[in-house]
């Protein structure tokens, strides 16, 4: 058996098995070096898996050589390949370029456990993405959530603890709801394999437990994905987490839950529950729109930079969901490609913030007057990220906004309202970015700002790498577009 056939398993196993070793690493930077190398390896595996999927279609792997449904199946599709790229790239870039930021926020003796937890988050997230089994998804959800609580709790501010506790309670409720739903489906079908579930659900006569299961799974995953109004855990967690952790999570954590949600809704429920498509859309379109508008509105008045961007993240989850709730090929493509593009934009923004934080004492807006004159490179990257988030042509964000608007317009009168909502929220995004840009470029410097310097070169390099990726994928979106198209087609595969 060649190593290529083992890639789906290695994708998870490599970061997972190296994590315990990282705990034992003592000595300067050793834990960091090992975690970074592992994350890079995971990225390389993700790239080769993507190539394989694009060449030969979905890949399946039988754990322990037990065929599904008796054993656990791993399944890599175009959709999972896209998510794998996002997760592993986000982890690798933040680790590789973020060492100085992490060093400045965390004592040396606590770092080995921190990096071990980082690899466990990575293993958990990719584990969810490649899983083809409903219970297996739960197991890796537990690994990734527990480990992400650790990473957020590493934040230097004392308020990190209460916010992570809130996240822990919410996250546990979300996971429990998901498990209850899976339990109900298991009760009615006797299987845990997703593909098998899809087939066996068609024979189920008593449909009520399945409807309840659909409700529990949707709510549980929506909680994990911070869908409005279940987003309350997100702003504080993102604000008080170490900067690099925020950059990592903002790029991928909620998207993995959305990925599971979409798989359940479209592959498991849609064909088996009458009118499910209709219910899904009528339920989620209002939530998505209110979420987009309200979160953008809060961001308008927020003055802490990280919390402002956290609210913007909640609005972006709304965009992804709005696209998906169209339940059309174009809508799903728009939603899925926005997962990729938002990861790029938010990655650049939070990276730039981490650069800022190496120099300024507080990330509140009133403290950032004239900072762009001292740190021109950092702020320029920040502006590119901002432009991409607003959706200016030439950046990655434009592609998803464009696709989203054309998808929404297919819906007739309702579509026009939705377009207005999207445009209004884009304007709001432009306004809250302008507030930051205005202060940073034209504001008066606070008194003791003389000693401000440009951020460390290595971190700046990482920021610019992500910022330029925004432009590259804005001009040449063929790869994410190809994957999103295939993902949307496979999700809608059996729908009329």
């Amino acid at each position: 058996m060649s190593i290529y056939q083992h890639l789906p398993a290695l994708q998870v196993v490599v970061p997972m098995l190296i994590a315990p070793l990282v705990v034992l690493m003592r000595g300067r930077g050793l834990a960091w070096a090992m975690a970074t190398a592992t994350s890079m390896m995971a990225f390389i595996i993700a790239v080769s898996l993507t190539n394989i999927v694009l060449e030969t279609g979905a890949v399946s792997y039988a754990m322990g050589s037990w065929q599904a449904p008796y054993g656990i199946e791993l399944r890599v599709t175009a959709f999972s390949a896209l998510l794998l790229l996002i997760v592993t790239a986000a982890s690798t870039i933040t680790l590789l370029f973020g060492k100085q930021s992490i060093d400045s926020q965390l004592e040396e003796h606590r770092q080995p456990m921190f990096y071990a937890a980082w690899l466990l988050v990575l293993a958990g997230l990719v584990g969810i993405v490649v899983a083809g089994d409903a219970f297996n998804i739960f197991v890796f959800m537990e690994v990734s959530s527990l480990a992400s609580y650790i990473l957020i709790a590493a934040g230097p501010n004392r308020k990190a603890m209460p916010s992570v506790f809130k996240y822990l309670i919410m996250g546990t409720i979300g996971a429990t709801f998901y498990l209850i739903g899976v339990g109900l489906i298991y009760m009615m079908t006797g299987t845990l394999n997703l593909a098998d579930m899809e087939v066996r659900l068609q024979e189920v006569q008593d449909i009520k437990p399945i409807i309840v299961a659909a409700g529990f799974i949707t709510v549980g995953l929506a909680l994990k994905a911070a869908v409005f109004p279940l987003h309350v855990w997100l702003p504080n967690s993102y604000t008080y987490a170490p900067h690099m952790v925020t950059a990592f999570f903002a790029a991928c954590a909620t998207k993995v839950s959305l990925f599971v949600l979409l798989r359940f809704e479209f592959l498991v429920f849609h064909q088996n529950l009458v009118e499910h498509v209709g219910h899904f859309s009528t339920f989620l379109i209002p939530l998505a729109v209110i979420g987009i508008l309200l979160a953008s509105g809060v961001a308008l008045f927020e003055s802490h930079l990280k919390r402002l961007l956290a609210y913007s993240s909640i609005a972006q989850v709304g965009y992804i969901l709005l696209g998906a709730s169209m339940a059309t090929a174009s809508g799903l493509t728009a939603g899925i490609i926005h997962m990729f593009n938002h990861a790029l934009a938010k990655g650049a923004l939070f990276f730039a913030i981490a650069c800022l934080a190496t120099q300024v004492s507080s990330l509140r807006l009133e403290n950032l007057g004239g900072v762009a004159r001292k740190m021109p490179w950092t702020m320029a990257a920040f502006v590119i990220g901002g432009l991409s988030l607003v959706g200016i042509p030439g950046t990655a964000g434009f592609i998803s906004k464009w696709l989203l608007i054309s998808a929404v317009l297919e819906k007739g009168t309702l579509g026009i309202f939705l377009v207005v909502a999207v445009l209004v929220s884009s304007l709001m995004a432009a306004v809250y970015f302008w507030r930051i840009v205005e202060v940073a470029y034209f504001g008066d410097a606070p008194k003791q700002s003389a000693e401000l310097h440009e951020a460390p070169k290595w971190m700046l390099l990482g920021t610019w790498f992500v910022a330029l990726a925004n432009i590259y994928y804005g001009l040449n979106p063929s790869l994410p577009l190809l994957l999103s198209n295939q993902a949307a087609a496979s999700l809608l595969g059996q729908l009329p």
């Binding site: 997972m16 039988a62 606590r110 297996n136 480990a147 650790i150 299987t191 009520k208």
Partner: protein, 330 residues
């Protein structure tokens, strides 16, 4: 008769749960939680889920109660009065329960042989386990081999939890000094001056550990396995720490050894999977470990159960010591 007993137990379970929510004294709440777990273990046993019952009794009623008490020793036992009324949360809980109850009206009857659960994969497991593994406990076969990847994930959940507790407790004003992490700040002598608990307790420890080892190595034939064994042995060691004091217990099994156990146990499990891969099978395929697939399965399951036992035992003890080593703040 069994039905009547089950109804009685479930009623007690609900009453205990309400009492846990109602009480303002955290010490009382912890004790009630222990009772809740014990009742739950009995319910599992009535449902013929002996493996789960054993786990619930060892972890739920035993170790978690200990950990809660260790936390209370740091925080005090009185709940902070909450400003918000319980109405919204009560409403959400009520609606959720009603929906769940509604769903149960269309569920198959308990033990119905025609239920989907009894028709699909379960018969295959029952039929194939004696043939493929040559031992009677199907639960162990499913847990350790057919769905061994999930169990590997659960071992990593335990590892993550252990890392999390140690990481979080290593910060803040109450953190043990990183330069001399082994010496607890409070002089702890345990119950050394109390003769009766000491004599009786010490008599018990070897039997607890022996029973743990039995559960560990007999998991293929009777209920049990690594998870339960790890918890039971950890309970024995915690009893030792209570009797002889923290310092003495850490001398026997220092924190570094415990972390080594967690890491080693998780790695042992994972490496069995990797070796399977190197020997030409898929990840976690034990059949290739020996020329005879059946004995290959048995070897694989034996090793991974040892890994699970080591990881669970080490993690529980490390967490316990981490709490005990922390100074009470305020």
């Amino acid at each position: 008769m069994v039905t009547l007993f089950a109804v009685f137990l479930l009623t007690l379970l609900v009453l205990t749960a309400i009492a846990v929510v109602q009480t303002k004294n955290l010490f009382v709440a912890v004790m009630l939680m222990g009772i809740f777990s014990l009742l739950m273990a009995t319910v599992f046993f009535i449902l013929d889920a002996a493996d789960v019952a054993l786990t619930e009794a060892a972890v739920g009623a035993g170790i978690s109660t200990m950990l809660f008490l260790a936390t209370l020793a740091l925080t005090g036992e009185h709940e902070k009065p909450s400003k918000k009324g319980p109405w919204i949360s009560g409403l959400v809980v009520a609606i959720t329960s009603l929906i769940l109850i509604d769903a149960t009206f269309e569920q198959p009857y308990l033990g119905d042989p025609m239920a989907p659960v009894q028709q699909h994969v379960a018969p295959w497991y029952l039929e194939m386990t004696p043939e493929l593994m040559d031992f009677p406990n199907v639960v162990t076969a499913v847990l350790a081999s057919f769905r061994g990847y999930d169990t590997l994930g659960e071992v990593f959940v335990v590892l993550t939890a252990c890392i999390g507790v140690l990481f979080i407790l290593s910060a803040g004003p109450g953190a043990p000094n990183p330069k001399s992490p082994r010496i607890p700040t409070a002089p702890s002598v345990g119950l050394r001056h109390h003769l009766i608990p000491r004599v009786v307790g010490k008599l018990l420890i070897p039997f607890i550990v022996l029973f743990g080892l039995y559960v560990q190595f007999h998991g293929e034939y009777s209920p049990g396995g690594g998870f339960q064994a790890g918890a039971i042995i950890a309970a024995g060691m915690i009893l030792y720490a209570l009797l002889e004091g923290e310092k003495q217990a850490l001398k026997v099994l220092p924190q570094s050894v415990l972390i080594g156990m967690v890491v080693g146990g998780a790695m042992l499990y994972g490496m069995v999977g990797v070796v399977g891969m190197l020997m030409g099978g898929n990840f976690l395929d034990y059949s290739v470990l020996s020329s005879n697939p059946v004995s290959g399965q048995q070897i694989g399951i034996l090793i991974i159960e040892i890994g699970v036992g080591l990881a669970v035992c080490g993690a529980l003890l490390a967490i316990f010591h981490a709490f005990a080593a922390r100074r009470s703040v305020g």
